[in-house]
Amino acid sequence: MFNFKKYRKKSPWILHYNAGSCNGCDIEILAALSPKYDLERFGVINTGNPKQSDIFLVTGPVTFRSRERLVELYTQMPEPKVVIALGSCTCTGGVFRDMYNVEDGIDRYIPVDVYIPGCAASPELIIDGIVKALDILEQKTKKMEKPLKLFQDASTKDGIINKRDCALKVGEKDEEN
């Protein structure tokens, strides 16, 4: 029978979400779409619509208010999907690590497949990361990947939210029910 899997890597459609970045990486994504780098030759379209996207390109260290949107968008994307953390602060929190309104990287909330470092990540790096993501996309199954748990019990300690204690998995809760 026809093997559809190998066509996945030929048409990756991108959803870009800025979860509190400084714009540096976002404009580099635009630059990567521009004639000099031309991401479209890999079949990339910037759809802006989670329901039709394969690659979730997240920039920024995830601020307190953007995390719900992040998870909402992630869950609206159909499988198979790949998440790319774009930029140092997206991977680890970078310079924003441990600031009071910042959640130190997206891998606390959603499973990340490719980390692209750099502040700001240059278009070459972005292309490199996306090409790497394509290989991962080919291997993915259509099984639902649940986002990791986040903001359920936002217990506060000294006015600052203690984030690490309340990171559970959403999936566990679902299985109980």
């Binding site: 030929k10 030759r41 039709q52 159909p78 259509k142």
Partner: protein, 274 residues
């Protein structure tokens, strides 16, 4: 036999047109662009995606849009009644519009609304086109139109009016407010995903076939003229797409109705005196 083959292959022909168009557009923008087979890669990929739906009405109406459009294309290829085909095409648009309204999504609603409004602009001109062909050939049958010699020189103004609506149907700048990606994220198609979006994607390809088949009708029985017209319109539309911004839906209506209807009326009055 060849007609049946053409009908079955219609989405594939549309795919090639769309793929070529993406390359041409990229080259016009000084880029390399995707490969020619890109639309097919997209289609294969969409088949492999997980199925997400909002509600079953929405999905079924989207599929019906595709099916009806395929029937329309089949009728064009077989050579049915042109006026009838235009109304059947309206039916397929209506399915899409109902799909847009069947979800509680604001962008979907705006897209469907704009589609409805754009209908004011293109429907009269399509009907006038059919009437003009009727006056020339004494019949609405496409097969009769194809047998006669080229109508292009009898209805040049109507051809221009028809050119105005090509960008509307193909969702090209400046008349692509229906599907404005930067405003309403594709309009009606926003809530479709996975294999169900593929139906809309293929419907778009069929729309290409439908519109370019209508363009080729102007050539009558001359195959060379048909090919020339196809290529000319193809490049013209892409050139226009790459040199204009998207104009608002109210400007669209005004421009297309005023210019298009005037041209069409003048042409038909001219025809009735000849």
């Amino acid at each position: 036999m060849i007609e049946i083959l053409l009908i079955i292959l219609a989405p594939i022909i549309g795919g090639f047109i769309y793929g070529a168009e993406r390359i041409v557009r990229a080259r016009m923008q000084n880029r390399l662009g995707p490969p020619l087979l890109q639309p097919f890669y997209d289609m294969y990929k969409l088949m492999d995606k997980q199925a997400f739906i909002i509600n079953s009405y929405h999905t079924i109406l989207g599929i019906m849009h595709f099916v009806t459009l395929w029937v329309v294309v089949a009728f064009v290829i077989v050579g049915q009644n042109l006026l009838y085909i235009i109304f059947l095409h309206l039916l397929s648009s209506i399915f899409l519009i109902l799909a847009g309204f069947s979800v509680k999504s604001i962008y979907s609603h705006i897209g469907a609304n704009r589609e409805l409004i754009a209908m004011i602009a293109y429907e009269p001109i399509l009907i006038m086109l059919a009437v003009a062909f009727f006056m020339l050939n004494g019949s609405f049958e496409i097969s009769a139109i194809r047998e006669n010699s080229s109508a292009l020189f009898s209805i040049p103004l109507l051809f221009l009016a028809f050119l105005l609506i090509v960008p509307i149907k193909l969702k090209k700048s400046p008349f692509d407010a229906i599907q404005a990606h930067q405003e309403i994220i594709g309009g009606v198609e926003v809530e479709f995903s996975g294999i169900f979006f593929e139906f809309l994607y293929m419907a778009k390809l069929l729309e290409y076939v439908f519109i370019y088949a209508l363009v080729m009708l102007f050539a009558g029985d001359s195959f060379i003229l048909a090919l020339t017209l196809f290529l000319a319109v193809f490049f013209l539309v892409n050139l226009l797409d790459n040199s204009t911004a998207r104009i608002r839906i109210d400007h669209l209506i005004k421009i297309v109705l005023v210019i298009g209807l005037t041209l069409a009326t003048l042409n038909i009055i001219g025809l009735s005196y000849v």
